[in-house]
């Protein structure tokens, strides 16, 4: 596979071809689930049920859903702090995600991590990271370990590929540069998916990143294959990612994706969005990935408005239940949890570690 340097996304002729209705409906449901979770999340934040920083994924749903669909369930993934969508796309039960944001013991991280730290060992989701760019070398490490386990420990061919998501703002961190050089140098099967939503907080990409009009050079600098994908269309995302994923897995090589997307809401809960025009926002809102996929299904004739409504209300119910569950989950008791999970072992004031309810019975140790 050769690197594509074109910076204008070229959607395949018939993206949907070869994908069953069932699959597309599942993707639609996943995107609806993320959208609904984020909407309720914003309400909960207004009602002070969620604190700290909270970054919602509305508008970018097609990226997490399409990318995770293009990899295997046991391929490790890691992302930044705008991570609710990735957690759900990886099939984390929304109730654990919501409970985490509510700061409850039932949360995926027992309420210790919050919105920016969604981890799910069962689904190979390695977080949720708050420091811009810091997840990129860690992502290289996930690929290194996957490859090492196959090739060095089990003497077989590498079988996994890691996905490392990052925002366009993370392109400017030294960690990103070192990570890509290491990935290229060590032939690590990791794909860096830049969720290029055009802004880092209030800074449009060209104000913070050189060559913003053609990010392919950021990959070529390390001899890494790259593609540009229209991230507002989940079929495009899948069709763009799948061949790259297969290639990187087969040849144990890194990849780089300029994933063009847009966040419909502000950076976090407190952002007047003065740095962009309503006009621009509307242009992208017209590109709503959920509407797009629904339209495709309608065209296929196998999915009518009634079906869509049914799906939507089913999703609303699931999230409503998640919120209820999160509400009812007890707060972590400081006396029990404050000094737990600092060290794996028990010494001094430290009380060892324990798995969150989400993983009870599934894992014994970290």
């Amino acid at each position: 596979m050769t690197a594509t340097s074109t910076s204008t996304p070229s959607p395949p002729s018939d993206p949907a071809k070869g994908l069953s209705d069932a699959v597309l409906v599942e993707w639609l449901r996943d995107m609806l689930l993320i959208r609904e979770l984020e909407v309720r999340c914003m309400q909960a934040y207004q009602n002070r049920k969620i604190g700290g920083f909270c970054h919602v994924y509305i508008g970018q749903e097609a990226v997490a859903v399409g990318c995770t669909a293009a990899v295997n369930d046991n391929d490790p993934i890691i992302t930044a702090y705008r991570d609710h969508g990735h957690a759900l796309a990886r099939k984390m039960d929304p109730k654990y995600c919501m409970a985490e944001m509510f700061g409850k013991i039932g949360g995926c991280a027992k309420g210790k991590g919050g919105s920016m730290h969604m981890f799910d060992k069962e689904h190979h989701m390695y977080g949720g990271h708050g420091i811009v760019g810091a997840q990129t070398p860690v992502g290289a490490g996930l690929a290194f370990a996957a490859k090492y386990m196959d090739e060095v420990i089990n003497n077989k061919k590498n079988s996994r590929v890691a996905l490392c998501f990052l925002g366009d703002g993370a392109l400017n961190q030294g960690a990103f540069h070192e990570a890509l050089n290491l990935a290229g140098l060590f032939d690590l099967p990791v794909i860096y998916v830049v969720e290029n939503n055009g802004y880092s907080m209030g800074t449009s990409i060209e104000r913070g990143t050189t060559m913003a009009h053609d990010l392919s050079v950021k990959a070529k600098a390390y001899g890494i294959d790259n593609i540009v994908v229209d991230g507002m269309d989940v079929l495009n995302v899948y069709n763009g990612m799948k061949p790259l994923v297969d290639h990187c897995r087969e040849h144990s090589r890194p990849g780089f994706v300029d994933m063009r997307t847009y966040r419909f809401k502000g950076h976090s809960m407190s952002d007047p969005r003065k740095y962009r025009t309503r006009d621009e926002e509307e242009r992208y809102e017209a590109e709503d990935p959920i509407e797009k996929l629904a339209a495709v299904l309608r065209k296929r004739g196998t999915f009518d408005d009634a079906a869509f409504k049914a799906l939507a209300s089913d999703v609303r119910k699931e999230i409503r239940d998640a919120v209820k569950w999160a509400d009812e989950s007890p707060e972590p008791i400081a006396a029990e949890e404050l000094y737990k999970d600092v060290y794996v072992d028990t010494w001094g004031p430290f009380t060892g570690t324990s798995m969150p309810e989400m993983l009870k019975g599934k894992f014994e140790r970290p």
Partner: protein, 327 residues
């Protein structure tokens, strides 16, 4: 004549006044210009000083810190804003290896008059990576100065002093305090480094702290007063230089001392002050210096747990009772 202004505006005034007075001074950081500051500290400054002196940077803390250091070596006086000191870890090499050592490494040839400033300490459920109290981490390093403002008056006075200082200065602000208001004089003023101030006079126990925890100290002091324990609360103001004399004079009077430091306890500013007070007041102390810190764990997100982890009036009152044998 004084005015009542917000802590954030006090910082803004300090920068704006110094920038008006000295063209070598400029501000650089993430979202400081067009966005008017992630926390609105620099609001209006782009309009007044323009994009050449109020500069939006990419998310490259190590890069723009180093850029500021180079500019300072050539004689400019950069103010580098970290949206949060939590993000300064990626710039640790530049701010700890270069800024504080350039004068020494160059044998006195090149100074580094630069100010690094931003939010320090728990901001409120921001979790483990976003709640750093860097004072204990960075105060270990010679060559830098460190100040922590307690109110609007100090925010303006200490920052102006920092900008005029010929050495690298780390100014640690608290996001939790940015919106509080306070009196500042109409006329110009600065606050000298190395001069602690007594926020509450008292006779029975000396409480030493810096920045935001002082509010908890004063809260605890009121509560303890009801119990007949009259605390003297000292705001150290600057950690480097540290005004030990004021602390010692107080301890010689009260014979008891509690240090309240929002950072982790191990190898901290709190342990340093405790060690120095023991050394200087060994014969005056009727009990060991007691310490209140954040618990020795990463900052949790959940509200109640975070509150329990941080220093608070309850913990401070308990420490004072224990230190004064009135527990």
């Amino acid at each position: 004549m004084t005015r009542e202004i917000e802590f954030r505006d006090a910082l803004n005034e300090a920068m704006s006044e110094e920038m008006r007075a000295d063209k070598r001074v400029f501000l650089m950081g993430e979202e400081v210009a067009q966005y008017n500051g992630a926390y609105k500290v620099s609001r209006g400054m782009l309009d007044e000083f323009g994009p050449r002196r109020v500069i939006d940077t990419p998310i490259s803390e190590n890069g723009f810190s180093g850029m500021g250091i180079g500019a300072a070596m050539m004689g400019l006086r950069p103010i580098v804003e970290f949206m949060s000191w939590s993000f300064s870890l990626v710039a640790a090499d530049q701010i700890l290896n270069n800024a504080p050592k350039m004068l020494y490494m160059s044998g006195g040839q090149f100074g580094c008059p630069i100010v690094f400033r931003g939010n320090d300490g728990a901001g409120g459920q921001l979790g483990s990576t976003h709640s750093w109290c860097v004072e204990s981490l960075y105060a270990n390093v010679p060559g830098l100065k460190m100040a922590i403002p307690y109110n609007a008056y100090d925010a303006k006075g200490l920052l102006k002093t920092a900008i005029r200082d010929d050495n690298p200065v780390f100014l640690l602000e608290s996001e939790r305090l940015l919106s509080i208001t306070g009196e500042v004089p109409e006329q110009e003023y600065t606050i000298p480094f190395g001069e602690a101030i007594i926020r509450r006079p008292g006779t029975d126990c000396t409480i030493v702290s810096f920045g935001r925890p002082l509010y908890f100290c004063l809260e605890a002091a009121e509560e303890l007063a009801k119990e007949g324990i009259d605390c003297e609360v000292i705001d150290g103001r600057t950690i480097r230089p540290l005004d030990l004399d004021t602390i010692v004079a107080s301890v010689q009077k009260t014979n008891y001392c509690v240090v309240v430091d929002q950072s982790w306890s191990f190898a901290s500013v709190g342990s340093e002050i405790a060690a120095q007070v023991h050394q200087a007041c060994f014969d005056d102390l009727d009990n060991a210096v007691h310490r209140v810190h954040s618990d020795d764990v990463p900052a949790p997100y959940a509200y109640a747990m975070e509150q329990e982890m941080l220093p608070n009036a309850r913990k401070i009152a308990e420490a004072v009772r224990a230190a004064t044998y009135t527990a």
